[in-house]
Structure formats: structure tokens, C-alpha cells
Amino acid sequence: MQPSANPILVVTLRLLLLLIAIGLWQFLPSSVLDEFLWSRPLDVLAQMSSWIMDGTLLWNAADTLVTVGLGLVLGGAVGVALGLLAGFSIVTERLLLGPVQMLFALPKITLVPLFILWLGVGTQQHIVFTAVVVFFFFFFAIFNGIRGIASVHHNNFELFGASPWQMCRLLVLPACRGWIALSLRLAVPYAFVSAVSAEVVASTSGLGYLVKTSASVMNASGMFAAMIVLLIVSLACSLTINRYASNWARFD
């Protein structure tokens, strides 16, 4: 058996590594690390605090969070609904599974120009794109969840005289809880990826917008500041979801 690492040692080493990286970033000479392209930690910090002061950061982070949230709700609802429908009978399975698998194979980023055409460059477009990306997680999760329910349960519910709606509410959805939790855990980071991707392509607000506009005026500090905030927000959301989703999915 491998000896377990001393947690204090690990944390100390990690902090040390981080400090060295930040120190190198701050103090390496310009000949090695061009601050015009790389910025410096203190400049990034300065950019961040000025954005915090004038509300830029809060406003744009809120915009991205709304995109992620609404995208998850929309994509999740449609994914669960169509997944239930696909699992409902052989006919609906044949009808839905093929088209969904085809769309799944499409590199989703190619949809962004199309959505811009339809919906403009605003938050709407980012929400729809995010919803499309996360939709597949929920669809396949529910579909597989239904396929995994032992037929003895279906038979029993039929003998108890359950309606299709009762079958769905009392058997299928609870049985798919683990799958839904898993797809939520996968979908949250992907929702950030897709929201910010859509924002980077075309937007008027959001953290992706900050990255894009900073890059276009060669403001390396702004890019790093926006990226760091994005990392923190995305990580915080993922960790929260992981924690609640796994508790929620447990049967015992």
C-alpha cells in the first residue's frame, strides 16, 4: 500500500509552487518574459481592482453566470423531456435517437454563426448555444437511465395500474437521479466553456467579452484578469454542484 501523503506538506508545497510561479511571472526580466504580451501579476491585480471599482467585473461576471444558469435550465429541461420521450417507446426511440446522435456529432461551435444570424450577438444567443451544448448530457443520461431500469419494475407498475405520468414521476425520474446528477456535474463546466466560447465569438458583455476586447486592444492584464475571474467563478460553481449533486443522488 502506498503511504498517504502528509496533507500539511502537500499544501505547503503547493503554495510554494504557486508563489514561485507568480514570483517568476513578476520578476523575470523583460528580455525573457515580455510584459507587453504576458503582463505582470501586480498589473493584473491593478486591472482587476479597477474593474471591481467601476463595476465592470461584477456586471460582466453576472452576465456570464446568467447565461450559464439559463442555458443549463433550458438545455436540462429540453434534454430531460426529450430523453423521457425517447425512452418512452420503441417508436419514439427510433424517431429521436438518430437525429440527436447526428447533431451530437456536429462540432457545436459551428452553430454560433448561425445563432448570431438568428438571434444577434446578445446574451440570448449565448444562452441558446449553452443550452444546445448541455442538452446532450441530459438527453443521453435520461435515455440510458430508462434503459437501465429493470423490466420487473415496469411490470410491477403496470400491475399496480400506474398511468404513464405516474410511471415517469414515481419510477423513471427517481431511478435516473444518479444519471441526472452525473450529467449536471459534467454539464456545469461545459456550460462555462460554451457560454464563454459564444461570448468570445461575438458579444457585448460577459467575461468572454472582457477577454475578447482586452485581447483586441493588446491589454494582456485585462485578458489575464478576466481569465482568472472566470476560473474562480467556474470552479466555485462546479464544486458547489458536485457537492450537492452527489448528496442528492445517493439512495442510502
Binding site: A150, V152, N156, L159, F160, L170, A175, F251, D252
Partner: protein
């Protein structure tokens, strides 16, 4: 010994004499003939055991009686009506564990009532009563995975009885249990069935179980299943579920010879 009866007993008077009748039933699956012209009847209040070699289509017969399968030819009638959809008058207890793992014992047991729209208070009350009857008082809030195999089987039995089916379909329900637990549950089941006047169709491999529980033992051939013989054991005295009394050994031998002839072994 008089036993407490369920909140309400199923009204079996509407059933008439013949509860279940199979009439020249045949069935194929994937080009394989499973049932070949099977005809038999189960009368009201009767306990019939079907016994036959493994994979002979016994479970298919139960699925037909439950309305979960339809025959290719012939008819299956319940209370005189041809079965076309799930037979909601029947309780079906299978060998597999069919409890919902995310529900505790009491809400598993009361599930059929929940589906029927019975109010929560009444559901809980009836579930408590029936759990006490199958000897699970105090386990209401346990989850299925916290129970032993025998206890889970009792919970399944309670869930099957709570919606007061007129007829029980039992598919080797006690196969996976240890010997003592099996005998205890069998005895309980028998007394509950007699109390409530339930009609029972039991599929089993277990000859002692068939002789001990049933009024009539129906012998089935190997696949495709045909009816071979019926042995009336209702009159047999001193039936026990733990062993065969010496004077009843001839029934055991008769069934055993049948099984051996059908499995092709020596």
C-alpha cells in the same frame, strides 16, 4: 389460530368458479416455440403449483396470467374475460428483487396505494398494519439495502398484498432464501392465502414446496411447454414445508421422475 385480517378483504365473489383459464395457448419467441397448446384452469381459492424443468416456459405462463404477454394463439382468460393488458387484479411476486432502492420500507409497501390515489394517512396506516402482519414491525424506515434477503422478500410480499389482489402469481419467490427463512415465509404465505381466500398460481422447482403449499401440482414438459399431468395433493395429510413425510414420498417420487424424464438426464 385466528389471524388478524387485512383492513378490507378482496371481494372474490365476482370471480365465479374459474378464475384463470388457459385455452390452447401457444407462444413463440424469436422463432423458438415456448408454449405448445397449453390448457389448464385455476379455480377460485385454489393453490396451483406449476413444476417443470429449467427454462421450460413456466415464467412465460405467469407473464400471460399477469397480462404482461399475449399468446400467439389460444386465449388466456381472467374471471371470464380475455386478458389484453396488465392484469391489475393480480399480484405478481418474482424471484428478482423488485423493491425501489430509493424508497424506505413503508413507502415501498404503500406504493400501490399511492398509485391508486389513496390518501397519505390511510396509506401509512395500512402499510403499518400489513408490515406488522409479515413480521417487519420496527423496520418501516429502513431502506431495502439495509435488510436481509428474507426481509426484502417479506416487504415484497407485503407490497403485493396491500392492494388486495384477488389472485397471486408467484414466480419462484423463495428460491434465493435460506432454508429456515424459506419455510417460515412459506408458512406465513399459506396462512395469509387461506385467510383471504386468494387464488394462487405458483411456479417452482422445489418439489417439497409444491407438495407442501399447493392443492394441485401441474407438471410441465421441457420446452416447448406442454401439460404432462396434474397431481391432486389437496387431500394429502400431514403436509409439511420442511420435509416430506414418509407416507407422501410417492408424490415426491412421481414429480421427481417427471422432472428427470424431462431433463434428459439418467
Amino acid at each position: 389460530m385466528p389471524r388478524p385480517i387485512l383492513a378490507a378483504e378482496p371481494d372474490v365473489s365476482r370471480l365465479g368458479k374459474k378464475v384463470l383459464s388457459f385455452d390452447n395457448v401457444s407462444l413463440n419467441y424469436d422463432g423458438l416455440s415456448i408454449l405448445d397448446n397449453v390448457s389448464f384452469e385455476v379455480e377460485r381459492g385454489e393453490f396451483v403449483a406449476l413444476i417443470g424443468p429449467s427454462g421450460c416456459g413456466k415464467t412465460t405462463l405467469l407473464n400471460l396470467a399477469a397480462g404482461l404477454a399475449t399468446p400467439a394463439s389460444g386465449t388466456v382468460r381472467y374471471a371470464g374475460e380475455i386478458l389484453r393488458s396488465a392484469n391489475t387484479s393480480a399480484g405478481y411476486l418474482t424471484q428478482e428483487d423488485a423493491l425501489l432502492p430509493w424508497r424506505d420500507v413503508i413507502s415501498n409497501v404503500s406504493l400501490p396505494l399511492e398509485i391508486k390515489g389513496v390518501a397519505r394517512a390511510e396509506r401509512v396506516e395500512r402499510a403499518r398494519a400489513i408490515l406488522a402482519k409479515v413480521g417487519l414491525k420496527g423496520f418501516e424506515r429502513h431502506k431495502p439495502h439495509q435488510l436481509s434477503g428474507g426481509m426484502r422478500k417479506r416487504v415484497s410480499l407485503a407490497r403485493t398484498l396491500i392492494y388486495q389482489p384477488e389472485t397471486l402469481l408467484l414466480d419462484e419467490p423463495f428460491g434465493a432464501l435460506d432454508a429456515q427463512t424459506r419455510v417460515l415465509i412459506q408458512e406465513e404465505l399459506l396462512s395469509i392465502c387461506k385467510d383471504l381466500g386468494l387464488t394462487v398460481l405458483l411456479v417452482t422447482h422445489d418439489i417439497v414446496e409444491a407438495i407442501g403449499l399447493a392443492d394441485r401440482v401441474v407438471l410441465i414438459s421441457k420446452r416447448p411447454a406442454r401439460l404432462c399431468a396434474t397431481i391432486d395433493v389437496a387431500h394429502v395429510a400431514n403436509r409439511r414445508l420442511s420435509r416430506i413425510e414418509p407416507q407422501n414420498e410417492r408424490y415426491f417420487d412421481q414429480i421427481w421422475d417427471h422432472l428427470r424424464s424431462q431433463t434428459g438426464g439418467g
